[in-house]
Symmetry: none
Subunit: 234 residues, 2 copies
Amino acid sequence: MKPLILIVDDEDALLEIVRYNLERAGFEVTTTHDGEEALTAIAERVPDLVVLDWMLPHVSGIEVCRQIRRLGGTQAIPVIMLTARSDESDKVRALNTGADDYLTKPFSPGELTARIQAVLRRTRPALLADAVRSGEIEMDLSSHRVFRGGETISLRPVEFRLLRILLEHPGRVFSREQLLDTVWDRDAEIEPRTVDVHVRRLRKALNAGGRRELIRTVRAAGYAFEPEGVDEVA
Amino acid sequence: MKPLILIVDDEDALLEIVRYNLERAGFEVTTTHDGEEALTAIAERVPDLVVLDWMLPHVSGIEVCRQIRRLGGTQAIPVIMLTARSDESDKVRALNTGADDYLTKPFSPGELTARIQAVLRRTRPALLADAVRSGEIEMDLSSHRVFRGGETISLRPVEFRLLRILLEHPGRVFSREQLLDTVWDRDAEIEPRTVDVHVRRLRKALNAGGRRELIRTVRAAGYAFEPEGVDEVA
DNA sequence: CCGGGGTGTAACACAACGGTAACACCGCTG
DNA sequence: CAGCGGTGTTACCGTTGTGTTACACCCCGG
């Protein structure tokens, strides 16, 4: 389950850039344009972290932050504030209000991602301890590293995502279409046979040095990850 | 224990097509024509997933989605939205409202089925617990494996589908024509005798090692699966 | 006990499917 | 702008699966 981040800002452009980057970094993202919407959104589904613009229409960021701290069940939500200027007094006020961190505009999307991860690591380490493991394969999602029995395996981005899907459901057979849907962008129109090619590349990387095959081909059905290795001989 | 799907759309034609396909895919289906009916239906019996048209009379799809998310006991129901155009902003809004996936009209029934399964797999894996069992035979549909008394049986695609049909209705006799209709593509023109050949191949695989026959031949009628084995002597 | 529809079986041709390598392209970076 | 790594597509090939057919066999009724 991806951590859910709520971004509150009145600039659509900023929202979209940030959304794009956070989703790429493995977060789920909701956005609202002002403080009221934000509180409604929080009431509907409590996010794991809130990014709040300081200057908001109707209700100020600070006020929203206070509300969050006051409501039941939401006091513990980490908040990161976005301020327009690097004024020291703003920083102090932000942190006094209960914000966990702050960032001055303009900032790079990567910077925000980094701060979010830092805050979450401090407050909810479990959320980021993103590792998938099955059999002798271990994937560390945050550092994007893959190990087979301790040894590092280097994978390209597509192979990484592909392995992740397979690994998350050991034994389950995925059709090429399912894989295209989950590993690739929806509405990306890719040839089903392309999946084969990536499976091959993934296998090549995983089995380097003549190790046991871990990906089972199911004729006319698809591919599956087998933690214990694929039966070779009949 | 079929998963219950609620479809909300004002077009009867669409409802019927979708219903037909979903029922064939093993779902139970309820339909309503507008948002109010939908909420009533949900109150009466909570479905496992809702498919919502974006444009509905009286209450919009988005609003229905919000209501669902607000009510007690229904927040977790996955929702798939149907939108008329492939407008990016609609997609964003749909997902923001709490939809789990979306589909742009027109779509093929198979596409919807696939998305429903994908969403359920993600949110309620247990619902799709794909296993068919009868007597000493067990088929795990998700991993595409077949066991007889614990031992793995390897089957080819056609044999797999054939066994599945027989297994799902133990004791029932299927004519060659029925089997051709269900196991093969609808408009595939196959010789009825071909069924015999596949039954033989299936038997051979199932009975490897001199085990009891499980498929009964009914003269002038067809074949049936017998969980307890076929009586050899009269 | 003979005959005929119905089924079991093996053999064969070919169609389908997946593995693989080669290539073109694209976006980056130096 | 050349080089490079990553990605998607395609074509080829071997393997495996599938449909058809021919023939043997069996059961059952005349």
